[in-house]
């Protein structure tokens, strides 16, 4: 993936839900403070601390039948920022590295 606004490093980030407690009716995810439908639901279900951002983008492109990876990446990062600000996810999680892992999403030289 090539994106002029973000560091290549973020493709290997593994975002993760803070907790695995939510309601899923097959179309919509409900948590204590927000709901996610459609692609938002699909993204949420992939945030398990093991799927990389690269992997999630590829799966979304397959689902949406598109090769616009940069555009999908931008959308995904917007969703991740929103969820992170609500304390619903960690941007880049690994339990044995914890805060050694970068959480930065914006471009770095």
């Amino acid at each position: 993936m090539k994106n002029n606004n973000y560091s290549k490093e973020i493709e290997q980030y593994t975002p993760c839900r803070m907790m695995d407690i939510y309601f899923d009716n097959g179309n919509e995810i409900t948590t204590g403070s927000f709901k996610l439908q459609g692609i938002g639901r699909d993204i949420w279900l992939m945030l398990n601390g093991k799927n990389t951002i690269r992997c999630i983008v590829e799966k979304l492109c397959t689902k949406l039948v598109t090769d616009e990876k940069d555009a999908i990446l931008n959308e995904l990062l917007m969703v991740l920022r929103m969820l992170n600000k609500r304390n619903a996810i960690v941007i880049n999680w690994d339990p044995i590295y914890k805060m050694l892992r970068s959480q930065r999403l914006h471009y770095e030289e």
Partner: protein
């Protein structure tokens, strides 16, 4: 902080980010405290790293390995923390191939064959490790005896997994040293640093619990004098509140009465928390426990449906539950309980019974938590799930965290259990707010700041 470390003991971290956001694991890993104290008595230099603590990570471990070159690294893990433990072991072995990696804890006591399939895990210590692990260190570090003579371990030789003779369970727990709390470097970071174990095992047969099997099917106790000596030790460290971490304190009435008499007579002015079954108590006994300093008691209620209680072999009745909580209210003791959703024969109706029970107990001042039924290795549910009408569909051990459903039950799928759990939690939280009852988060601090996007 120690510079010369011969044996490094590591407690593996949970994969759940929320637990790390709490800024501290709730309690120190007392099992590692026992191991370290036994080793120190044999003149080994040890260090404990609890990876559940927010500031500890793999670099902390690697730094000790680089500076001290310990000969043995013992990694303790549960089912949920096993995969993280494996990854740590692989990294450690790659950086320090001469270091012996030993796994221990409740998960690998049952799943040792899976663990030893990995090249980077050298030994597994089964069940309680005070004697086995010390003897294993004697063999590895000091060349004492042969590997075959070390009881209670499993190792590989020429591709074969070999179990040595079982190490007998320690019958007289008073012979164990009181864990030296100075070996926990960050003791004061824990929300509840003062913990005591007064017994091992549980005589119950609940299908979701391995406590009995882990202890050889027997219940062993420390004497009252021995327990209170540890209370005095913790008092000398500045602690006034103690968490007794036993699965159940109230099995032996004689020992309990003796313990309470000893506590009352020593007048240490300490408060404490314990766990108990609801069918082993009386009002008078609870009253005496209160007099001795009991402030909070956790009961294993599990379900609000008698049919479900019977199906999990809990051996208690709903009336016993209600009595115990009413007594606590009268005596101004805070009761705490956990209820389990998604038991093998749970239905929407029985889960509603459980939620109704939660409401009832909250109205009596109880702090209620909910968890999801999970088949841990060593439990009847894991060994013979088909017997309970359970189909395990998720074998990713990171999800064995009692909030993620991993099986289809008799009447509900895993997805349905997830939704029922969410709804039940929501109801319970509303009820607790209405009754001004705190969540049972045991006073932990929550600091999300490190995980905010910047």
């Amino acid at each position: 902080m120690r510079n010369n470390v011969e044996v490094l003991l590591v407690s593996s971290p949970t994969p759940c980010p929320a637990m790390h956001v709490q800024n501290a694991h709730v309690m120190p890993p007392l099992g590692l405290g026992y191991l370290a104290t036994c080793l120190e008595q044999e003149r080994y230099s040890t260090r404990i790293i609890d990876m559940a603590l927010r500031g500890k990570n793999i670099e902390t471990v690697l730094s000790v390995l680089k500076n001290s070159k310990p000969k043995v690294v013992g990694i303790s893990c549960t089912t949920e923390t096993y995969q993280a433990a494996e990854r740590m072991a692989k990294i450690i072995k790659s950086a320090h191939p001469d270091c012996a990696i030993v796994f221990g804890g409740c998960h690998t006591s049952f799943e040792y064959e899976v663990a030893l399939k990995e090249d980077f895990i050298d030994y597994v210590v089964l069940n309680e490790g005070e004697i086995s692990f010390t003897n294993l260190c004697n063999f590895i570090i000091r060349g004492v005896g042969t590997i075959e003579s070390v009881k209670g371990i499993v190792y590989k030789e020429n591709g074969l997994v070999i179990c040595t003779e079982p190490e007998p369970f320690i019958e007289n727990l008073d012979t164990l040293p009181i864990p030296d709390r100075s070996l926990f470097e960050d003791l004061y970071e824990y929300a509840h640093p003062a913990t005591i174990s007064t017994s091992r095992g549980c005589p119950g047969n609940c299908i979701f619990c391995a406590a009995s099997v882990l202890s050889g099917g027997r219940y062993r106790m420390r004497s009252a004098q021995n327990i209170v000596a540890e209370f005095e030790y913790l008092k000398s460290l500045g602690f006034d509140n103690v968490i007794i971490v036993d699965d159940t304190l109230t099995i032996s009435m004689a020992r309990l009465e003796s313990f309470l008499d000893e506590l009352i007579s020593r007048n240490l002015q300490m408060t404490w928390y314990c766990e108990s079954r609801v069918d082993t108590l009386s009002y008078n006994l609870l009253s005496k426990m209160k007099k001795a300093g009991l402030t909070t008691i956790q009961f294993g209620v599990e379900s609000g449906s008698q049919a479900i209680l019977d199906s999990v072999h809990k051996g208690i009745t709903l009336e016993q539950i209600r009595k115990a909580f009413r007594w606590c209210r009268e005596l101004n003791i805070t009761p705490v309980t956990n209820l389990i959703v998604g038991q093998p024969s749970d239905s929407r109706e029985t889960i509603q019974d459980t939620v109704r029970m939660a409401h009832e107990l909250i109205s009596l001042g109880a702090r209620v938590t909910l968890s999801v039924s999970t088949p841990f290795p060593g439990t009847p549910m894991w060994r013979t799930p088909e017997k309970f009408g359970v189909e395990i569909i998720d074998f990713d051990l990171d999800n064995y965290n009692v909030s993620c459903p991993v099986f289809n039950a008799q009447h509900l799928t895993a997805a349905e259990i997830r939704n029922e759990y969410y709804l039940a939690l929501k109801e319970v939280r509303i009820a607790q707010r209405q009754h001004n009852v705190e969540n049972d988060d045991m006073g932990v601090r929550r600091d999300f700041s490190s995980f905010w996007f910047d």
